[in-house]
């Protein structure tokens, strides 16, 4: 077991070319150690072999481990660390090695930190851009907010009132104009039958009631429609001249009551 603790590192110094005192010393030491090893090897080869079976494996292994560990422990306690001779060349060579290793490690660290730095810079830039965008959004939103909170009142109430009044006046005038035109039109084209026509046949019954003009009939129907919207029907009276009633019905301007033929109404053109 002590073989495994032999330091094999000095072997690596054996391929230097210059033969100096320090090296000769080292080589001598190595050869001494090698001789020790050969002796130990000889002793070992005398020890027999034994194999394990599954049943006795654990126990025997554990016992062996205990023995070996205790002997290793005692060996460590006994042994004092052997130093390689502290000659200048040796120290320099060792020092160089150490420094090379250190340099390699530091370079690794440097490259890692540099790449991390770059990543952090990229992250920072990204976050900065995001922040700028957010601030712009915030600004525009606050401007909008202010605008909506205090709307600029560009009109006054009186002006709207006046506007409405003028509108109403205009509409009323228009209405008058249309009604006058309607009246003239009806007078021209739909006059009442002439009362002065001689009655040729005596057995024609004449209505005794006074006939009213078509204009008046229409007025009655119109008023009824707007006064009593749920029952816009007007009873046909004797003052309605029948041909005109027929005219209105046939042209779809008036409609009969579905159940009562003596009542008519004006068609609701406005609905």
């Amino acid at each position: 077991m002590s073989l495994s603790q032999q330091d094999l590192d000095p072997d690596s110094t054996t391929d230097m070319e210059d033969v100096t005192d320090a090296e000769e010393e080292l080589i001598k030491k190595c050869e001494e150690m090698w001789k020790d090893m050969e002796e130990c090897q000889n002793k070992l080869s005398l020890v027999g072999t034994e194999t394990l079976t599954d049943s006795n494996a654990q126990l025997s292994l554990l016992i062996m481990q205990v023995k070996c560990l205790t002997s290793e422990l005692s060996q460590w306690r006994k042994e004092t660390p052997e130093m390689i001779p502290l000659k200048e060349e040796v120290l320099v060579a060792l020092g160089k090695e150490e420094f090379q290793k250190l340099r390699g490690d530091l370079e690794l660290v440097l490259s890692t930190i540099q790449s991390r730095n770059e990543k952090l810079k990229e992250d920072l830039e990204r976050e900065q851009k995001w922040l700028d965008e957010q601030q712009q959004i915030l600004e525009s939103l606050s401007v909008l907010h202010n605008e909506l909170k205090h709307p600029v009142v560009t009109f006054s109430e009186s002006r709207i009132f006046n506007q409405l009044k003028t509108k109403m006046r205009d509409i009323k005038e228009y209405k008058e104009k249309i009604l006058v035109t309607l009246g003239e039109f009806l007078e021209d084209h739909f006059p009442l039958p002439d009362r002065n026509v001689k009655k040729k046949k005596k057995n024609i019954q004449e209505s005794t009631a006074q006939l009213i003009t078509l204009h008046e009939i229409l007025e009655i129907l119109l008023n009824r429609l707007f006064d009593v919207p749920h029952d816009p029907y007007v009873k046909i009276s004797g003052s309605f001249w029948p041909p005109y009633i027929e005219l209105l019905l046939r042209n779809g301007i008036a409609l009969r009551h579905p159940e009562d033929p003596t009542r008519i109404r004006l068609e609701a053109f406005h609905q």
Partner: protein, 180 residues
């Protein structure tokens, strides 16, 4: 010799030798390749074997670490390893033997239960490593671990012996006191 002994020869200068035992040739070759690619201060030698005992006429260097590779997909590899274990000297098990179980990634193909291998490693008081040797990344990592272990077992790391390593690897691997 039919039984492998750990310290039967003098070591080669600055060399460390590992023996991989297992039935899967392809996997062993790949693992050996990954190990040889590793940066190492000592010279590495990898020997592959299907099973023990090894033919005795070959001039081989001193073996520093044996790794028994068990493929969880085949019962045959487990039995092969179990038989080979009988040809190893008991002193090898003081840290110079390790078990490696592969194929645990594909649960559906496993015919050997994980616990069987765990118990085997526990019986022989040796560390058990799990690795899917078919996956490149895992194989490289495992190769690095094995190289480190090999260096310690060959004595190239001053102050740490194979037995010390064994004690260090002990902590998380053993099952509870059920078996004792």
């Amino acid at each position: 010799m039919s039984v492998l002994r750990p310290l039967d020869k003098l070591p080669g200068l600055n060399t460390a030798t590992i023996l991989l035992v297992g039935t899967d040739d392809v996997l062993l070759q790949q693992l050996a390749g990954s190990m040889l690619k590793e940066d190492c201060a000592s010279e590495l030698k990898v020997h592959l074997a299907k099973s023990l005992p090894l033919p005795s006429d070959v001039n081989r260097p001193r073996i520093d670490l044996i790794v028994f590779v068990v493929n969880l997909h085949s019962q045959h590899s487990l039995r092969n390893v179990e038989e080979s274990l009988h040809h190893v000297d008991s002193t090898f098990f003081l840290g110079k033997v390790s078990f490696l179980a592969t194929g645990a990634g594909q649960e559906s193909h496993c015919s050997v239960h994980r616990n069987t291998v765990v118990k085997l490693a526990h019986t022989y008081r040796s560390p058990l490593l799990f690795c899917d040797l078919e996956v490149e990344g895992f194989r490289t990592t495992m190769a690095q671990r094995l190289v480190r272990m090999l260096q310690i077992c060959a004595g190239h790391v001053p102050g740490v012996s194979a037995l010390n390593l064994l004690s260090l690897l002990r902590s998380t691997e053993n099952p509870s006191l059920e078996d004792l």
